[in-house]
């Protein structure tokens, strides 16, 4: 479909772009910066309302983008994640007052980039979308102007990120040489037909470096704890779910679009990386005393579980990845909302600040408990549904060993999640001043709680929506 014909399908994204620029320039006229953030939220909601799924999958802009159920699913996911992040940022105490509208408009641009990531079916567009999201995240990580930790995290993220995407780009150039095309479908046909499958696999490994960085897969996870700890907490919350979810989307697009016939060659690599990722994440998380670092390592471990679905690489497996990503997004964002509420009060993310939270703020403590139990994969919460489908798909595909390792890992993970719960309920606090979260935090918390519990008890609607998606 030509560019002009594609525009009607692209209206939500165009609205999002116009909104992002409007928010950027609104800084000159609007003095109440909170209003700008709320405008950003309205723009996101309007975009989500305008988003329509065409009856047939459409190849937009001469085949650069694909608008299908998969894109549509991740479009909602991206808008939702960015929306909740803006909602929590509205009452983040350490937010620099002078740069708020830049902050919100960067997040709207980020939402645009995330949607493009899920839609791209061409190596050029994949590269541009991934790099767009990366560059905006480097800026957001360094947003605390006077905090050396934030700057250091930003510089570290920049170096790791640029190196990873440069190596990914080298892989893409080799893939272009091996197949003569940038289009994922053509690449698949060329790889199946020509004798260049070996070069294709080498370039796939180089591309995995870049995407592995985005999903914080071992051995490309070293940046994650430092960056997550140094970044402003709402940005951390976003980074643990947003780029990770869309990184998985691109990974599925590339693997299912161009390399599905070479499955026997790359499956063992992903198998090993999945085990490595979950083990490193869980084992190192045990020793952490900072809640942001703890959740950072736990998010590395979660990436390992999600990779199990890709190892299985069946319809069930890839759908399990999508289910897990949504369950994880609700749960992890919710946990970070509580972290923001506590850090607004104490200016600290150490575990000691959580002692006595059960008496100080019973509702916050109860919701953090629910989120941690969901992360550990306990029924009846969302995390259980995600884990259940991922394990099922691995067992169906005959990968019993990975399921056993993942089960052992879940036991290790339960230990450090329960450490936080113990700190909240069994360790007495020095004082008993109640913590009352602001309205926007309470609203975000409610939304995430409803999502976590509802997905755990009535997963039917989500499963129904996901069953329309044909990833393979």
């Amino acid at each position: 479909m030509s560019a002009i014909d594609s525009i009607p399908f692209f209206i939500p994204e165009i609205l999002l772009l116009i909104g992002a620029f409007a928010v950027l320039f609104a800084d000159f006229f609007v003095t109440n910066k909170k209003l700008i953030g709320i405008t950003g939220l309205v723009i996101l909601v309007a975009t989500a309302c305008l988003a329509r799924l065409p009856a047939e999958p459409q190849a937009l802009f001469s085949g650069f983008f694909q608008l299908d159920a998969f894109t549509h699913f991740f479009r909602y996911a991206a808008l939702g994640i960015v929306g909740v992040t803006i909602l929590t940022s509205l009452s983040y105490a350490r937010m620099p007052k002078a740069y708020q509208s830049e902050y919100y408009s960067l997040f709207l641009f980020m939402a645009f980039g995330l949607i493009l990531m899920s839609a791209a079916t061409n190596l050029l567009m994949i590269f541009l979308a991934v790099e767009f999201v990366s560059i905006v995240s480097y800026l957001l990580v360094g947003f605390l102007k006077d905090d050396p930790g934030s700057k250091e995290a930003s510089a570290k993220y920049l170096l790791f990120g640029s190196l990873a995407s440069a190596i990914m780009l080298f892989g893409m150039s080799l893939l272009f040489g091996a197949t003569g095309s940038l289009d994922l479908d053509v690449i698949r046909a060329q790889l199946a037909g020509s004798g260049f499958a070996d070069l294709g696999l080498i370039s796939l490994m180089l591309i995995l470096v870049g995407l592995g960085f985005k999903i914080s897969m071992a051995p490309f996870h070293m940046w994650a704890p430092d960056v997550y700890q140094g970044a402003p907490t709402p940005v951390t919350a976003f980074l643990t779910v947003g780029p990770k979810a869309l990184g998985f989307a691109v990974l599925i697009r590339v693997l299912a679009g161009s390399f599905d016939h070479l499955y026997s060659h790359w499956s063992s690599l992903i198998f090993v990386l999945s085990i490595l990722t979950m083990t490193i994440g869980n084992v190192v998380a045990i020793a952490q005393n900072n809640i942001k670092r703890l959740l950072a390592y736990s998010s590395i471990a979660q990436a390992g579980y999600i990779l199990m679905g890709i190892v299985a690489f069946s319809d069930t497996g890839l759908r399990a990845v999508l289910i897990y990503l949504i369950a994880y997004a609700f749960t992890n964002l919710g946990a970070f909302v509580v972290v923001i509420a506590v850090s607004n009060r104490f200016q600290s993310d150490e575990l000691e600040s959580y002692s006595g939270l059960g008496r100080r703020a019973p509702l916050l403590a109860a919701s953090l408990t629910i989120f941690l139990l969901s992360l550990a994969g306990m029924p009846p919460f969302a995390g259980f549904i995600g884990k259940f489908y991922v394990f099922t798909s691995a067992l169906e595909a005959g990968f019993v060993s990975i399921a056993v390792v993942a089960a052992l890992n879940s036991a290790v993970a339960a230990y450090y999640y329960f450490r936080v719960i113990r700190q909240m309920y069994l360790v007495p606090a020095s004082d008993e001043d109640p913590i009352s979260p602001s309205f926007s935090l309470a609203l975000a918390l409610c939304l995430m709680l409803i999502g976590t519990i509802a997905l755990g008890i009535f997963p039917g609607p989500l499963l129904g929506f996901i069953s329309q998606i044909v990833p393979l």
Partner: protein, 96 residues
């Protein structure tokens, strides 16, 4: 005279290796950023060489090269801004 593809590929692989080596060994943030630029240039050499030989349509590789150059400029702008901000708060541009 047409340079054979093998020679260009050897050159670009060498450039890539020098870039990766530089990012691993350098302790100066600017040095690391320049090493990353070397990798991107290896990519550009590859893309242009392939677009002349194996590509199905020769313009795709060259267009990709322009995008890589533009993105490298954007990344360098953001990168130098971050390095400058880091220098202002912590008075160093060394990674250790």
């Amino acid at each position: 005279m047409i340079i054979p593809l093998e020679h260009i590929l050897m050159f670009s692989t060498l450039l890539f290796a020098i870039g990766v080596y530089g990012t691993l060994v350098r302790r100066n943030l600017i040095g690391i950023l320049i090493s990353i630029e070397l990798i991107l240039n290896a990519v550009n050499v590859n893309l242009v060489a392939f677009s002349r030989t194996t590509a199905l349509s020769p313009d795709t590789g060259q267009i990709f090269t322009f995008f890589v150059i533009a993105l490298a400029a954007a990344a360098a702008a953001v990168g130098l801004a971050i390095v400058l901000a880091l220098y202002r708060t912590s008075r160093t541009i060394f990674t250790d």
